[in-house]
C-alpha cells in the first residue's frame, strides 16, 4: 500500500501540472493524437514530405488503395501512428526502392504504432524499427510476392534495439531471413501472427523477456527460432513460446547469406525445423502444436554447434550454452521422411545422419524417424570439466515414445566416438 502511493504521487502531480500550464487546449482526436493527417493514393510525394516534417503526437492515415514509394522514414519523434484502412485495402509498394536498407525506416521514435496496412516488395527489409520504445505493430502484412527467392529482402517486420515491442495479428511472407524478427530488444510480445514461406517464420534474437503465443508459423524453412549471437549489444533469454501452431515448415533454405555454412545466422536452419533454440537460456516451450516439421520438432543447440570459436566470444552479452530450457505439454507429430531439401543442407545432412546412426545402433528402433527433440549435447561440462549428464538444466516433460535424442554433436566428425543416444531420463523435469 505504501509503495503504491509513493509511485502514484509523482504521476498525480504531473497530470495537474500539464493541465495548468497548457495555454491552449490541444485538440485531441479519437486516437489520442494532437494532429491527424489523411492521404489517398496519388499523394505519395505529400506523404513523403509529411513524414519528414511530422510533429510529435501525430496520426497519419492512408486511405484505401495502392501507394508506390522508393522508401519512407520517421526519425526522432514521440507518439506517432501510421495506419491504413486494412491490410487488404491499403497497400504500400516499395518495388521502386533505389536507396537505403529498407522500405520504411523508423529511428528513435518513442511511442510508434503501425497498423492495418500491407507493405510489399522492397529491395531490403520491409520495415526496420531501430532504437525505438513502445512499439505496436498490429494488423500489418509484410510480404514479398516472389516465392522463396534469395533476392527478397532479409526481414519483413524488423524491430531492433527497441524497448517494449508488441507484434499482433500480423503476417509476414517471403523474407529471405526471418518474417518477424525481433533483435536486441527488451520486452517483446508476438501474438496472433502468421508467418509463411520465410526462411525463419519468427525469430527472437538477443532479445530478453519475450512471449510468443497464439501464432501460426507454417511453410517456412524453420518455424520459430530463439537465437543468441556473439558480439552484440545484449544477451537474450527469458523467452516463452506457447499455444502456437507450427506446421509444415519444410521449405528449402533460401537465405543468401549463410547458405554456405556461416558460423551463425539463419542459413544454419535446416529445412523441416519446428523450433530451434540456439545459445539462448531461460526458455519455456509449452502447449504448442508442432506438426509435420519433418526434420526436427524442437532443436536445442549451443553456439559451438555452428561456431567452433564460440568459447572465445563469451562475455556479458554472450554465453553459448543454452541453460534452463523447459519443454512440456507440446503436441508433436512428424511425417515418414525428411523433406527433400534437408538432404542438400549442411545441418540437414547432420540430422539425416543422426537418424541413420540411431537406427544402425539399435535394430529394435525398426527404422523410426529421428526423435522429436534434438539436444546437441554440448554443455558447460566443456568449460567446467564436469561429468554431470545434464548440467545445464534442460528439462522435458513429453510423454510418449521416440521423444528425445542427445545428438553428441561434439563427436560427430569421428564416427567411432560419435554416439547419439535417446536416453531421456537425465533430461526429464523433476
Amino acid at each position: 500500500m505504501i509503495s503504491l502511493l509513493r509511485n502514484s504521487v509523482p504521476a498525480f502531480l504531473f497530470i495537474i501540472g500539464l493541465n495548468a500550464c497548457n495555454d491552449k487546449v490541444a485538440v485531441v482526436n479519437n486516437d489520442g493524437y494532437k494532429q491527424s493527417l489523411t492521404f489517398s493514393p496519388g499523394d505519395e510525394s505529400k506523404i513523403v514530405e509529411a513524414l519528414l516534417s511530422l510533429k510529435d503526437s501525430s496520426s497519419v492515415e492512408l486511405k484505401q488503395g495502392t501507394y508506390h514509394f522508393d522508401n519512407l522514414s520517421l526519425a526522432q519523434l514521440k507518439h506517432i501512428l501510421l495506419k491504413g484502412e486494412g491490410h487488404d485495402k491499403t497497400i504500400l509498394d516499395f518495388s521502386a526502392q533505389t536507396q537505403g536498407g529498407e522500405g520504411i525506416r523508423v529511428t528513435d521514435v518513442k511511442g510508434f504504432t503501425i497498423k492495418d496496412l500491407q507493405l510489399q516488395n522492397s529491395k531490403g527489409d520491409l520495415i526496420k524499427i531501430n532504437k525505438c520504445e513502445d512499439v505496436v505493430i498490429s494488423g500489418l502484412h509484410a510480404v514479398w510476392q516472389k516465392v522463396a527467392d534469395s533476392a527478397n529482402g532479409g526481414y519483413a517486420i524488423y524491430p531492433v534495439l527497441c524497448k517494449n515491442v508488441l507484434v499482433e495479428n500480423s503476417y509476414a511472407e517471403g523474407a529471405s531471413d526471418a518474417g518477424i524478427y525481433i533483435g536486441q530488444s527488451t520486452g517483446a510480445v508476438v501474438k496472433g501472427c502468421r508467418a509463411y514461406r520465410n526462411v525463419a517464420g519468427c525469430e527472437i534474437e538477443n532479445t530478453s523477456n519475450a512471449e510468443v503465443y497464439d501464432n501460426e508459423f507454417y511453410g517456412n524453412t524453420a518455424g520459430f527460432l530463439v537465437f543468441d549471437l556473439p558480439g552484440l549489444s545484449q544477451r537474450g533469454g527469458h523467452v516463452k513460446a506457447y499455444n502456437n501452431y507450427l506446421h509444415d515448415n519444410n521449405e528449402k533454405n533460401f537465405a543468401k547469406a549463410g547458405s554456405f555454412g556461416t558460423s551463425s545466422g539463419v542459413g544454419n536452419a535446416a529445412p523441416g525445423n519446428g523450433i530451434i533454440v540456439l545459445a539462448a537460456s531461460n526458455i519455456e516451450i509449452y502447449n504448442n502444436r508442432i506438426i509435420n516439421n519433418n526434420s526436427c520438432a524442437i532443436a536445442i543447440a549451443s553456439g559451438l554447434a555452428t561456431d567452433d570459436k564460440a568459447l572465445e566470444k563469451i562475455n556479458d552479452a554472450y554465453f553459448p550454452f543454452p541453460k534452463n530450457v523447459r519443454i512440456h505439454d507440446n503436441i508433436m507429430q512428424m511425417a515418414d521422411s525428411f523433406p527433400a531439401a534437408t538432404y542438400a543442407h549442411h545441418i540437414g545432412k547432420l540430422l539425416v545422419g543422426i537418424e541413420q546412426k540411431l537406427n544402425a545402433q539399435d535394430a529394435s528402433r525398426k527404422n523410426k524417424r529421428i526423435p522429436f527433440i534434438l539436444y546437441d549435447g554440448i554443455s558447460t561440462n566443456i568449460i567446467t570439466k564436469g561429468t554431470q549428464s545434464n548440467p545445464d538444466s534442460i528439462c522435458i516433460t513429453q510423454p510418449g515414445d521416440n521423444i528425445f535424442v542427445n545428438g553428441d554433436m561434439l563427436n560427430i566428425a569421428d564416427q567411432r566416438k560419435w554416439k547419439p543416444n535417446t536416453v531421456i531420463t537425465p533430461f526429464e523435469c523433476r
Binding site: 502511493l5 504521487v9 502531480l13 526502392q97 529511428t107 529491395k123 529482402g153 547469406a257 554456405f260
Partner: protein
Amino acid sequence: MKKTVALVVIVFAGIAGPVLIFQSCKNKNTEKLQSTEFIFKEKLSEYGFFKEPLNKLIPTTRLLNYELVTPLFTDYAIKDRFIVLPAGQSIQFKPQAVFDFPDSTIIIKNFAYRNAANEKIMIETRLLVKDPFDKKWKVMNYLWNKEQTDATRHITGAKVPVTLLDDNNSKISTVYQVPNTNDCKRCHINKDVLTPIGPKARNLNFTRANQTTNQLMLWAAQGKLSGLPSINQVPQLPDWKDATHFTTGQRARAYLDVNCAHCHTPGGDAYNTGLFLEYEQTDPQKLGLMKAPVSAGGGAGGLDYDIVPGDAAHSVLAYRMNSAAPGTAMPELARSVIHKEAVQLITAWINQMPKSKN
C-alpha cells in the same frame, strides 16, 4: 500505522503540488520571451554567407573555410566546407570527440560535381545549425536550381541525374541521391543526440595543400579555436590517399572511420550489427575479422564473414563497398556509384592481413 503514513503523503502532495505547478509555468513563460526555435530560411542566398554570384562560393569575412584530411565519399562530389561562428566567439578544442561549438554556429557543406566539360555544377548545400533555443543541432538541405543562381530549402531528398567525372576524369552517369532530412539524422544521431561528424581534431589536424600553416594552428591564431594544446599532442588521422607517409592499414582504417564509423559505432545507426569501425577500435571481432554478419540478409552476398583475413574476395565488407544496389551497397545512404579507389584500398588491406590458421 500504514494509514497514517498514507495520509501524510497525501497532505504533502496537496501542498507541494500547486507550488511545483506555479514554478514550472513561470519558467516556461520566461523561456518563451527569451527566444524561439531557429527557423531555416527559404533560400540559401538569404543567409548572406556568400557573395554574388552565389555559385562561386566566395565567402563573406565571417566564414571559416576548412577541409578534412580524409573526407566522406559522395559520388566523387567536390565538397566545400565552412563554419559560421557567432561574432567574438570561438570553438572549444576537444582531443577526441567533435569540437564544442558555441550556440548559433552554422556548419555549411556544399556538394558539387564536375560535368563532362569539367565545369563545377552545384547540387546541394547542407546546413547544420546549433540552435540556441534548445542547444540542439538541426539539419536542413538546400537544392540548387538549374540556373545555378540559388538553392532552395528542401526536406524530401531528390534524385538528380548527372554525368560526372570521377577522379580519373572518366565519365560516370548516375542518379545522385540528395538525402532527405531523416537520412541526415540517421548518420548524425548518436545515442539520441544529433551532432556534427567531421570536425574532430584528428581529421582537421593537417596542413592544407596550398597553405603553409597547420589548419588548427591557423584557427587558433585567428582566435577561432580555443584550448588547442601543442600541435604534436593533437591526434592525427592519416590521409587515406597518402601512400608515402602512411601504411595501407592506416589509410584503410582512416577511410573506414570517416565513411562508416558514424553509424558503425555503439549508439550509432548500425549499433545492431556489432561491427564497429572507429579508428581507435582494436577488438578484431568488432572490426569484423572472422565475424559473421548479423542481419545483412542477402546484402552479405552469401559470404560468411565481414572480413576474412587475406581473402578480400570472401569478405562482406569489400563486397558491399563494391556494390551500388540498394540492400547491398554500404554505406546505405548518399552513395550511388562505387568508390573504386576505396575498394582497391580496402581490398589490398584485407589481402595483406595474415591468413587465420584454419
